[in-house]
């Protein structure tokens, strides 16, 4: 019985640790994708500015409240605009940005194929 209790305690502690680790990694993932608006070329994750510190606390709070990554990005986008996100979401203003590489890839492929086809014939 004692052994069972010990095992249960160990299982509980390990489980809690992995839960914390998951929250921490999500927090890191989100803050790495957020631009520090008052420091140049740094993410919120890398910066130690007052602004970045507050954002880190806020992200942690929101994760513990059960908000998803998308909801947190949406919240910050509403406050500071698209610029705060390093990876802008697909939308009216960003469709060109997202589609241009695909378009170039398809066109490039088509050109290569055409050249091969012409050479073969």
């Amino acid at each position: 019985m004692k052994l069972f209790k010990y095992l249960l305690a160990i299982f509980f502690v390990l489980n809690l640790n992995s839960l914390n680790a998951q929250e921490d990694s999500l927090q890191s993932k989100i803050t790495k994708n957020l631009r520090c608006l008052i420091c140049q070329g740094q993410s919120v994750y890398d910066s130690d500015s007052e602004f970045a510190d507050s954002i880190k606390i806020l992200v942690k709070k929101k994760i513990s409240e059960g908000e998803s990554e998308k909801q947190i990005y949406g919240y910050l986008k509403d406050k500071y605009g698209e610029w705060i996100l390093y990876e802008p979401q697909f939308g009216k203003k960003t469709y060109f940005l997202w589609l241009l590489p695909i378009l170039m890839f398809v066109l490039g492929g088509a050109i290569i194929l055409k050249i091969f086809y012409l050479k073969k014939n």
């Binding site: 608006l37 007052e50 507050s54 954002i55 606390i57 806020l58 406050k79 605009g81 066109l107 050109i111």
Partner: protein, 172 residues
């Protein structure tokens, strides 16, 4: 004729891409916030500076009244510079100034107000800076003019003579 199509097409694509990148280079890479946006004020709960009582933002802002929300801290030098303008605005009858004390020590904040006098009707405490984030602020000092629960003017940095005149004009 057929052989010319491909080079023409490639050159056109190249020119378009060059134009996009060239335009992109001209864009500033420093964030320039939009200061003329009409946004709803945020809903939040925080501590009142003097009493430590929890207050909901809905209890603070009433309709048909102008409010000036000023984020300040005793350690912030520009806050000292703008204080004289806040004292001028304090005399305006149709305006209430709400202070948000940002990441500050209570004793330091109190001595700051004792030294320069208190223009605030109410001071809210923002120990971790998250209330400032709710307002979409970047740091201190920052000021928001609120009317009908909407932010009608945002001042980033200290209030100066021009912004004072602008506020006075807006609340007339």
């Amino acid at each position: 004729m057929k052989s010319k199509t491909l080079p023409t097409f490639l050159i056109t694509i190249f020119i378009i891409i060059f134009y996009i990148f060239y335009k992109g280079l001209q864009n500033p890479n420093i964030y320039t916030p939009d200061i003329n946006i009409k946004k709803d004020i945020p809903n939040f709960k925080t501590k009142v500076f003097d009493t430590n009582n929890i207050i909901n933002s809905n209890e603070i802002f009433k309709e048909n009244k102008f409010y000036l929300v000023n984020i300040w801290a005793s350690w912030c030098a520009p806050c000292r510079d703008e204080h004289i303008f806040l004292m001028k605005l304090y005399k305006q009858k149709n305006l209430e100034i709400i202070g948000i004390n940002y990441k500050d020590k209570n004793d330091n904040a109190k001595s700051f107000l004792n030294e320069l006098s208190n223009p605030y009707k109410l001071i809210l405490s923002d120990q971790d800076g998250t209330i400032a984030i709710e307002w979409g602020a970047y740091g201190v000092p920052e000021t928001f003019l609120v009317y009908e629960r909407k932010i009608i003017k945002k001042i980033i940095g200290p209030i100066n003579n021009n912004s004072l005149l602008e506020i006075q004009k807006l609340i007339k």
